[in-house]
């Protein structure tokens, strides 16, 4: 999920203008870019992706496995080599035995492969 990364002060300013849901992680607030579509921000803030971190063992449990019909988990590594999955995979997972996915927490994700114009 692409989000705007806000300080507490920026979040308060934005809350005085619009209503929205925000996620609080390690002292920062994150607001979905999609949710803010059409609501111009009064300041410039970085856009970051939020994903759910998994351990290597957890990654090995799910990689290539089906989470919904014709849909497989696709764990990806961030720039630090840690593994992540998306909220779509968690929310749409209908399989028994994967309840532990709901215990995962969101954190910032910086992709290993940055967009490039080849």
């Amino acid at each position: 999920m692409n989000t705007y990364k806000l300080t507490q002060e920026q979040k308060n300013t934005l809350a005085s203008l619009y209503s929205f849901e925000a996620v609080h992680i390690n002292g920062c607030w994150y607001v979905s870019v999609d949710e803010m579509e059409g609501n111009p921000l009064p300041f410039t803030v970085p856009t970051v992706a939020l994903m759910f971190k998994v351990t290597i063992d957890q990654k090995n449990l799910i990689v290539g496995k089906r989470y919904a019909r014709r849909s497989n988990f696709n764990p990806v590594q961030d720039i630090n080599g840690d593994w992540f999955i998306s909220k779509e995979e968690i929310h749409n997972c209908t399989r028994a035995g994967f309840e532990w996915l709901y215990e995962l927490t969101e954190s910032e994700f910086i992709p290993m492969h940055l967009p490039e114009n080849i």
């Binding site: 994903m51 019909r69 014709r70 849909s71 696709n74 990806v76 779509e88 995979e89 994700f109």
Partner: protein
């Protein structure tokens, strides 16, 4: 003239056909009946049945069918319905991976790990790639494969907006037909009908042509949706929403116009 009469006939039938979905479902067209069956796309709603029926009949009526190899109208709103190739449900079924969102308007990537593998590989000098992009942003690439043989990038890309430019390539970088689109939404496509004829289109209007001789390099990677297949690994994940995917052999300008008209009509009745 024959085509115009054909369009008018089928369009005039639409109202009745939607009221009589049972008749459509009883069609003897094997491609249509295979696609809608419960074990495949499982299409039951009248408007969706009509869309699938209209697509097959019109595609065949315009002789596009023989040039199409993988055709994903993306109707049904689910991962399974969107995975099937209506041309042949037993070929090129999309495998979705990571975070993608399916809805009545198509399939959208999440920009971090969501994509679809088509298993379809372009033919070097006889190829078309076509899609409808609903999202106005510059994140990622919606349809592409990339290989770097002998250090030279060789790729097939249809990307409505990559940093402000529609990036369209079928070959090495000398074989691009990029253009700056008037809008980032719409029907974007490429067609290569020979080693010296490559064109890009938006809404079936030619945007750029390239007559540079293409190499005879044989591509071996399949085309990914909502990301770029980098010799088997996905990069450049997109957040755009797409539908109306067509992959196959090279189209003429008339073919491209006919395909555009077919999907424009379908997407208008599906309100997307």
């Amino acid at each position: 003239m024959k085509n115009i009469v054909f369009i008018l006939l089928l369009t005039s039938l639409s109202a009745n056909a939607q009221r009589n979905a049972g008749i459509i479902a009883a069609s003897k067209d094997t491609a249509f009946t295979a696609f809608i069956q419960p074990s495949k796309a499982n299409i039951t709603k009248d408007s969706l049945l009509w869309a699938a029926y209209y697509f097959v009949k019109m595609d065949k009526g315009f002789d596009l069918w023989k040039k199409d190899q993988a055709e994903y109208p993306m109707i049904g709103g689910t991962s399974i319905a969107h995975s099937f190739n209506i041309k042949n449900v037993n070929q090129y079924q999309i495998q979705w991976s990571g975070g993608v969102t399916h809805s009545s308007t198509g399939v959208a990537g999440n920009g971090t790990n969501g994509m679809g593998e088509t298993y379809w590989i372009p033919t070097t000098n006889n190829t078309h790639m076509f899609l409808y992009n609903r999202t106005n942003n510059t994140t990622g690439i919606v349809m592409a494969g990339l290989e770097i043989p002998a250090g030279v990038p060789y790729q097939y890309i249809v990307e409505p907006n990559l940093s402000g430019t529609s990036r369209i390539i079928a070959g090495d970088n000398a074989n691009s037909v990029d253009f700056v689109p008037s809008s980032n939404t719409g029907y974007f496509s490429l067609s290569r009908t020979s080693s010296t004829s490559l064109k890009s289109y938006r809404n079936a209007v030619v945007q750029a042509t390239n007559t540079t001789a293409n190499s005879s390099y044989t591509f071996i990677s399949s085309i990914y949706l909502l990301a770029r297949n980098n010799s088997g690994g996905a990069i450049n994940y997109s957040t755009k929403e797409i539908n109306s995917i067509s992959l196959g052999l090279g189209y003429t300008d008339t073919d491209m116009t006919n395909k555009y008209n077919i999907y424009s009509y379908i997407n208008s009745i599906l309100v997307r």
